[in-house]
């Protein structure tokens, strides 16, 4: 189906509905971690970069894989598999880092692969009631969205790292990285 549609769109056939669909309001960058497909608000995403081995830092939080230099800033890199208590997996050519900015803090999330950028209508998003969200995965979710047969778990960036974790990171992380270790 997708291919046929794309076949028709061959050539520079820009259409208005496409432009509407691309409204930044409810666009999500979707990606995979394990079996699940997640989405994160595009406005929080700075860039998607290829995974390269981060510089290791000493800290107590196993979720922090290390740090990298991003546009001159040292930012922490989070292993989302560890975060979601999933078994470790070797990084491959699809492994990417999604750099996000939350509350003025920039960090990278290692995900298995990036899928797409999708716009959702409000009615397709179902918010999660946090009082009942005791599951390890759902506690980081803002809601769930449906597109066709796919269910996208929408990540709540505020909950990727707790306030305490962020504070501790601030103290532990170096301000600069030596050139050679990048």
């Amino acid at each position: 189906m997708v291919r046929e549609q794309q076949e028709q769109e061959r050539g520079l056939n820009f259409q208005d509905d496409h432009l509407d669909n691309l409204s930044a309001e409810n666009q999500y960058v979707t990606f995979r971690i394990g079996e699940e497909e997640y989405g994160i608000d595009i406005m929080l995403v700075q860039e998607i970069i290829r995974y390269s081995k981060p510089t290791r830092v000493f800290n107590a939080n196993p979720v922090i894989k290390g740090v990298i230099n991003f546009r001159g800033k040292v930012i922490p890199i989070l292993d989302m598999r560890r975060k979601f208590n999933l078994p470790e997996q070797e990084y491959d050519e699809y492994t990417v880092v999604i750099v996000i900015e939350v509350n003025g803090k920039t960090m990278g999330m290692i995900v298995d692969r990036v899928s797409d950028i999708i716009s959702f209508n409000e009615e397709n998003i179902q918010l999660v009631d946090q009082e009942f969200a005791d599951d390890i995965k759902t506690e980081h979710l803002k809601g769930m969205a449906k597109t066709g047969e796919r269910i996208i778990l929408l990540l709540d960036p505020q909950r990727v790292l707790t306030f305490e974790e962020l504070k501790r990171l601030d103290k532990e992380l170096p301000r600069e990285l030596p050139e050679s270790t990048e």
Partner: protein
């Protein structure tokens, strides 16, 4: 002069039955005639049989086995078929086949592009590597398109135009990515096909190497073993034939013995003639003795002649008797000796036949083949193993040719996917230009994202375009490789098949010859058995020899008895007429002498009569009488 005694003799007890002796002699002649007849009839038949068997065996040996004399006999139309020639043909064909078999180097040359044995940039392996590189670049396009979309989203309304362009880049990259997963599938199929090709080619080469190493190189040994065995068989056959000829050599003597019988028979016939003359005199004598006016000289003439003639006949009969006895003993002894020798030859021949061509027997679960069969069965087993190897090669080669379909369909699908990707690249190039314009419109012409979009699109276009070219070259090379490989394999297979067919024909000939040798050996044995049987039959019929000898002796004794009586009568008569001695009439003796035809008789008679004027003739040419 005798005293003139006119009164007749008072007593004459002189009674002999000469007629009975004549009859007995005639009976003896008939019996010996029959006796010799048996030999006489059988001899030519037996001789002919021996001659034929000898000829057949020599023909068999020369024609089928020996390779020394290749020229056919004069007037002989058919080509001589020789075992050695057939074997040589097979050997030549094997050599021919080995030349058709491909070696690894030739195959590498032919299938270099497939087997990764070439450094050429359009090798199959190089192509796989390039495809991988394109895939990596494509995933970069995907990343950049996503980042472009993120960039435009973050710009809000002013970024919407660039967002649309980014989305198109993203869609193109997604499409190409999907198309590449199809390419991957086709490549995997092609890789599997290529691996199969490599494996099959390796199998063909190793099978061929095995064929050359294990069979072609050993064929000389195997065939010389066969030739040796056949020569051994030939030698054995010759030996059998020689033994037969040695065993039957006394046959010639038998012929001579039979000729001797002719003389004996003449003697007996002459004896009968003489006896009838004596009998005439005997009758006359009795008439004279009983007559009233008989001249005593007449009586004396008669009795003196009778006594004298009987004496001679007795002597001659004695010689006939010993001559006949000797001849009969010779014939009987020779025949007995013949039977004994043939018995031995027959036994040898029977053993050799079962060794050479006997029925195979299962002994302790193992087939015990006759020598002829064993020789050939090991050669056939060797040849069949080799032919099986060739069949294996053929099956693999046929499989390779048939399996080309997989290659063709994979290449076609790959070509289609590449075509689609190539079209998408053109679109991407246009979008790239639009992106630059849009970024300029937004005043962001120097933003990193623009440069990244440009460079990644450039890179992916370049890679895909160059890959398109490599793909086309590779396709041409591979197709060329394959069709050349096909052609050569097909050509080789055709030649190998033809050679194999010819080997089959030669094998059939060798098999047929094997059967003929076996049959001939059996036939030879049968001939020898028949010969033995015939000679034995003759021998059995000749067993009456003692009876004949006895009869002959009996006649001799009767003649002696007649002679004794005649002597007694002569003495009595001489006494009666008071004469001391009486000269026989020489003309009567000459008359009697003339009845004798053989030198033996005449010389005996001459010395008996003591007459120097009698001509006994010569012993030479005695045997040419008949």
């Amino acid at each position: 002069m005798p005293k003139d005694v006119n009164q007749p003799q008072q007593r004459s007890s002189f009674v002999v039955d000469l007629r009975s002796i004549e009859d007995k002699l005639q009976g003896l002649i008939d019996n010996t005639e029959h006796y010799y007849g048996v030999v006489h009839e059988s001899l030519p038949v037996i001789e002919r049989n021996i001659e034929l068997t000898d000829q057949e065996t020599s023909m068999l040996i020369n024609y089928f086995i020996d390779s020394d004399d290749l020229s056919p006999a004069e007037g002989q139309q058919e080509e001589p078929f020789l075992m050695a020639e057939a074997l040589q043909q097979i050997q030549d064909k094997f050599q021919e086949i080995s030349e058709f078999l491909l070696n690894q180097e030739e195959i590498n040359q032919m299938l270099g592009h497939f087997l990764g044995k070439t450094q050429s940039h359009d090798s199959f392996e190089n192509f796989l590597q390039r495809i991988q590189e394109v895939e990596n670049t494509l995933s970069e396009v995907n990343d950049i398109s996503l980042n472009a979309m993120i960039f435009s989203a973050r710009l809000g309304d002013s970024g919407r135009g660039f967002g649309v362009i980014s989305d198109h880049i993203h869609q193109a990259s997604t499409f190409m990515d999907q198309e590449f997963s199809m390419v991957d599938e086709q490549l995997e199929a092609l890789q599997q096909w290529q691996q199969g090709l490599v494996d099959n080619v390796e199998q063909i080469v190793s099978t061929q190497e095995k064929a050359v190493q294990d069979y072609i190189q050993q064929i000389d040994d195997t065939f010389s073993q066969v030739i040796q065995s056949i020569q051994a068989i030939s030698k054995i056959l010759r030996n059998i034939m020689q033994n037969v000829n040695e065993a039957v050599s006394p046959f010639q003597e038998l012929m001579t013995f039979i000729q001797r019988q002719d003389i004996v028979r003449q003697n007996m016939e002459n004896t009968i003639k003489c006896l009838s003359q004596v009998e005439e005199k005997y009758s006359k004598y009795h008439q004279l003795v009983q007559g009233e006016q008989t001249d005593s000289r007449d009586i004396l003439d008669h009795i003196a002649f009778i006594e004298r003639a009987l004496g001679l006949l007795e002597q001659l009969m004695g010689r006939v008797s010993s001559e006949l006895g000797e001849s009969l003993d010779d014939i009987s002894g020779t025949t007995d000796q013949l039977v004994q020798s043939l018995e031995e030859v027959k036994e040898d021949s029977r053993q050799l036949t079962s060794y050479l061509a006997g029925e195979s027997m299962i002994r302790d679960g193992v087939e015990d083949l006759s020598m002829v069969d064993y020789t050939f069965s090991s050669m056939f087993a060797f040849m069949n193993e080799f032919l099986d190897l060739l069949k294996e090669i053929k099956t693999r080669a046929e499989y390779l040719t048939a399996d080309k379909e997989t290659f063709n369909s994979s290449i076609t699908s790959l070509e289609q996917s590449m075509g689609k990707i190539y079209t998408r690249i053109n679109l991407l190039k246009k979008v790239k230009t639009l992106a630059r314009i849009e970024l300029a419109r937004m005043g962001q012409q120097d933003h990193a994202i623009g440069k990244k979009v440009e460079s990644v699109v450039e890179e992916v276009s370049e890679r895909i375009e160059s890959n398109q070219e490599i793909f086309n070259n590779l396709k041409t090379s591979l197709n060329k490789d394959l069709s050349r490989f096909d052609q050569i394999i097909a050509g080789n297979q055709e030649q190998i098949n033809r050679a194999v067919d010819e080997v089959d024909v030669s094998l059939e000939q060798v098999k047929a010859t094997n059967d003929i040798i076996g049959q001939a050996v059996v036939a030879l044995n049968k001939e020898i058995e028949t010969l033995h049987q015939t000679v034995n039959q003759v021998y059995q019929r000749l067993k009456g020899v003692e009876e004949l000898k006895e009869k002959c002796q009996e006649i001799y004794l009767e003649l002696s008895d007649a002679l004794a009586r005649a002597q007694q009568e002569k003495e009595y008569t001489f006494e009666h007429y008071q004469v001391e001695d009486w000269e026989e009439k020489s003309e009567e003796l000459v008359e009697l002498f003339n009845l004798f035809t053989s030198y033996l008789e005449r010389s005996t008679a001459k010395s008996y009569f003591g007459e120097q004027d009698l001509d006994e003739g010569s012993g030479e040419g005695e045997l040419t009488l008949f």
